[in-house]
Symmetry: C2
Subunit: 418 residues, 2 copies
């Protein structure tokens, strides 16, 4: 069974927004042991949408479309699907009922039966949209299926969750195989170095178990092996064997997780389990470390808070960094980082505190302390250590890399403290 | 001239990462008065890459590919381009020289002439990569062009910046037209309401000047009109006429910018111009407001700092929120928001301070204060006002919407204070 996605939207091809539905659909399909075969992105133009439908239906058994179902005049998806099939767009009681209900949910009056939401290509079924206004649509096309949802990621996701299995996948017979992506996450080592220098035979060894993939992330690489097994015992045996390979590899010290949990979630889980009270003193990351941690539900159990100390006066008055330290060593220095970590630990009453001060650029660099330089202070159990780092990149990348380096140190503390 | 992008990468179709190169390419082309016609995303498989190349070359004059040039065994782009063209992959002195230089830049020894980086399809030119290791590649294909870069967004961008105009676009004659996307940004009003209720004739009036687009953003809508003009005078006249239409529209009070500057940049610009010292007391946004502001270069001129006060003890001890206030009204209340704003303004010595306390969920809601509720305190010139908001969404969306609401209030203060 091949599945394709047609993304319809000028706003994507004009660079205003990134498509987020490819990823949502892919993640949805993986849970169903299915693959996304291909995607195309075309403009809100009849000819291009026709081209996209033809290409995808030539290759795929199920074609989804996202976008172009909205109320404005550049939304052409329904009309264009109709012309591609040689059908008309017509009023649908079902679509009217769905749209009316959606407006009620948002306490808004619905314009009535003239509204574009009530019209569908002939022979299509209107699908409930539990998170927005526009109904989705669905039809069988020969032995194939066409299902269309709004481009708004939340609404596209609810279309998948509410209808895709029950209205589409149920019509296909599917192999009873277990599929799992076995993932290990490494830190502080580039992809090049892992497979080209540190463990040259690793890729081949892993390949005996399934397709190997290598995904560079911020300052680390995720290594994946796609396991396909006939039984859960077979799957378990492969996972054990893979684990042994990694444990005896020279890259073992760089592995921070056997699994694919995001770093933030992993830290929150460890911190909550050990009841470690923690927080940050953030200068160059400007709140990003705290934002990443608080993106995790449950972080409030142990994450206490942070001080974003952009101006020197905040470092001095709120964190107690000494005026002499700032004058003698500068705001970007090991000495300031140490006092920042100690200050936030004391003021917020923390068990573990991470400070970071550096140069995110593009201005402010010097020959001794170029843009990309940062100092990370790690306070734990009354002691503070400072680490010096230097990364390449623009402001956005540097903030991300600085925060990643800070979170890696935080993770190490969580794993150290009993 | 039609331009297409072939995105090659299992990691995108497996939902591990979002493609970012469509957006980069689109934004690059807009500056050159060109359009991105379409994109396709396919797996790292010979058959699928062939399919993508055929589809795109059928439609486009220039085809770019991103991804699959790396050193690992799932990187098949070069081999597959060669087989699609019926050519061989062969050693290239030029590619060897580029790869050697790239390794020197990162202070790493290069493996030598056997390394995959040194091999290209016959007849291809190797392109310098100033931000990574793998050389790009370029060839003429009939009257058309094929140019391939790494999938890493930074490297793909430097390929565009360094080579796309000089090696590809220069071979095409291009119309001498002025193209500009005229944009206004609105806040606190949904797309539906703008065109369906508040100003039903707006879309048609704008359409007389060019293609109209409407892009919903967080809690606001960007309205765009694509202007194409033969002279800068003609362009200027259209812009003046459009401005008058918007100024006399009932949506005028919702317009916060004639232009397309991001909200963060717009605030930093205003704050720096007026030398307003500002900061945040962030509970439910957990650092996101500060992170968004500090993503802007130059923010350090006026953004002083923030306190992320997740735990009640931080609200109390660092911000001076009274124990009785927390006990009587709760951490999520107008009273706490007011004391948070006052506390951070006092402690960090700010002219303007924004506080926010709310429920980002998924847990913690009550019938009186459901998830999505927040209170925003706005301190300026010694006075504090509190606003109550309630939004739908999951944790990630709520943090974003809360921060957006807070930043809108901050912007209003920046525009108010003389």
């Amino acid at each position: 069974m091949k599945i394709g996605l047609l993304i319809i939207g000028n706003e994507i091809l004009e660079g205003k927004i990134n498509d987020a539905n490819t990823r949502q659909l892919a993640q949805f399909l993986i849970k169903e042991n299915l693959d996304l075969s291909m995607t195309m992105t075309v403009k809100d133009q009849e000819k291009m949408i026709h081209q996209g439908l033809s290409t995808l239906f030539n290759q795929c058994d199920i074609v989804l479309t996202s976008g172009g179902l909205g109320p404005t005049k550049d939304d052409l998806t329904k009309e264009t699907i109709a012309t591609w099939l040689g059908r008309k767009v017509q009023y649908s009681d079902q679509a009217f009922a769905i749209a009316t209900k959606n407006y009620q949910r948002f306490n808004r009056p619905f314009a009535g039966k003239d509204h574009g939401y009530c019209f569908l290509p002939e022979g299509f079924e209107a699908l409930e949209n539990t998170t927005g206004f526009a109904p989705g649509l669905l039809a069988k096309h020969g032995e194939k299926f066409l299902i269309s949802g709004p481009g708004v990621p939340r609404e596209f996701k609810s279309l998948l969750d509410d209808h895709f299995v029950s209205k589409v996948l149920t019509h296909f017979s599917r192999p009873q195989q277990l599929v799992e992506l076995y993932t290990v996450r490494t830190m502080r080592i580039p992809e090049e170095k892992i497979f080209g220098e540190v463990d040259k035979t690793l890729w081949d060894k892993l390949s005996e178990f399934g397709n190997v993939s290598s995904l560079p992330t911020i300052m680390g690489v995720d290594i994946g092996v796609k396991l396909i097994a006939g039984s859960s015992q077979e799957l378990e045996e492969s996972k054990q064997a893979l684990k042994k390979i990694f444990q005896s590899s020279p890259i073992f010290p760089n592995i921070w997780q056997f699994g694919s949990t995001p770093l933030e979630d992993f830290i929150v889980m460890k911190a909550n389990a050990k009841k470690v009270k923690y927080g940050f003193a953030e200068s160059c990351t400007g709140g990003l470390c705290s934002h990443r941690i608080t993106s995790v539900s449950g972080s409030s159990q142990s994450f206490f808070g942070s001080v974003v100390c952009y101006d020197e006066s905040v470092k001095e008055n709120t964190l107690g960094v000494k005026k002499e330290t700032l004058a003698k060593f500068g705001a970007v220095s090991a000495e300031t980082a140490e006092e920042m970590a100690n200050g936030v630990a004391k003021n917020l009453n923390l068990d573990v505190a991470i400070s970071i001060t550096g140069l995110a650029g593009p201005n402010g660099g010097t020959p001794e302390k170029p843009v990309g330089t940062a100092f990370i202070g790690v306070y734990a159990l009354g002691k503070t250590q400072v680490h010096h780092v230097h990364f390449p990149g623009d402001r956005e990348q540097l903030k991300m890399r600085f925060s990643q380096a800070a979170l890696y140190h935080l993770l190490e503390e969580m794993e150290k403290n009993a």
